[in-house]
């Protein structure tokens, strides 16, 4: 049976179309590469360089510091399973303004598309791990799974208008021979510009 998966670029194009000017968007790894290719925004936190798996945690910190803004985290399944505990840390705080959009391609794309141990190809005679089920069990207020671009397009705005924390698993196709994301500039300067765009500085 052929599994249908969405194009990650098309998914992100839909997110960009509905993203409000005040929204903070955190992107990491392959999602950061594709998000940057679609343009830039002062409130984009392109998490490159990153510590893999920490985009959800950084998004939580932003959401708690700025409850007046929506924080949308664009991450991957590889990063998520590297830091599954962050699902529990997030739901312990119940940030109403945090939205995790996890692009699940089943592989570690930027290191050569090795299967993750959660994917069917990465497991020995075991079904793939139900990542959306893990989010549900962790206590997210709303959990979604999309493998159809039309359905995602129709449901996205409503999803982002829901009280968070919200988790959405987006089943996307890996991009063959995809390069890793490149930093768009010196990190400390980008951090200062991002803080300026949010209108405040850490103390």
């Amino acid at each position: 049976m052929t599994e249908f998966r969405m194009s990650s670029v098309e998914v992100l194009r839909r997110v960009r179309a509905v993203r409000k000017d005040y929204d903070i968007v955190v992107s990491a790894m392959g999602a950061a590469r594709d998000w940057m290719a679609l343009g830039s925004h002062p409130r984009d936190w392109v998490f490159v360089p990153s510590s893999m798996g920490q985009a959800t945690a950084l998004g939580l910190g932003l959401a708690l510091a700025r409850p007046d803004l929506r924080v949308i985290v664009l991450g991957g399944d590889g990063g998520l399973i590297m830091n599954l505990g962050s699902l529990i840390t997030i739901t312990a705080q119940q940030p109403a303004n945090l939205f995790l959009l996890i692009l699940d391609n089943g592989v570690y794309e930027v290191t050569g598309a090795q299967p993750t141990p959660a994917s069917e190809a990465g497991r020995a005679n075991a079904p793939p791990v139900d990542l959306a089920g893990l989010a549900r069990a962790s206590g997210f207020r709303a959990v979604h799974r999309f493998n159809n671009l039309d359905a995602f397009t129709q449901g996205l705005e409503e999803l982002l208008d829901t009280r968070g924390p919200v988790f959405a698993l987006l089943e996307v196709a890996p991009v063959p021979d995809a390069p890793g994301p490149r930093s768009p500039g010196p990190a400390p300067e980008r951090a200062r510009a991002f803080m300026d765009a949010l209108g405040g500085r850490g103390q």
């Binding site: 510590s51 798996g53 990190a187 949010l198």
Partner: protein, 123 residues
């Protein structure tokens, strides 16, 4: 003040980074074992992005080793802090609290990530 409990210490650095970027004050409080666990996260936050997040780190078994004789935390904690190029002060008794405060004030003023290493007596 708001306490954010984490599942592993690496998360603490990234959450603190998000808080700082969003305009809040953040302090990471972990034990030295968590320091060992969270190296890549602190490398990214403190060195790549140069965010001046202060931290309190408990120094397990420093005052005695009654619970864990031969605790290797004594072997590795300070060399690892030095390897990560973190400026720390060791607090061993209540009289050292002024040293702690002074170090944090100086680190904040300099925009660097000051570390206070707090001696513990039990594991």
């Amino acid at each position: 003040m708001r306490l954010i409990r984490v599942c592993r210490e690496g998360e603490a650095w990234a959450i603190a980074a998000g808080l700082y970027l969003g305009g809040a004050r953040a302090l990471v409080m972990i034990q030295c074992t968590g320091l060992f666990e969270s190296g890549d996260a602190l490398r990214n936050v403190l060195h790549d992005w140069k965010l001046p997040i202060p931290s309190f780190i408990g120094y397990r078994s420093y005052l005695n080793q009654d619970t864990l004789p031969g605790d290797t935390c004594l072997t590795f904690t300070e060399p690892i802090l030095k390897a990560w190029q973190l400026d720390y002060r060791l607090v061993k008794e209540p009289g050292d609290f002024e040293l702690m405060a002074e170090h944090l004030r100086a680190s904040l003023a300099a925009g660097t990530p000051g570390v206070v290493l707090i001696a513990e007596g039990k594991a």
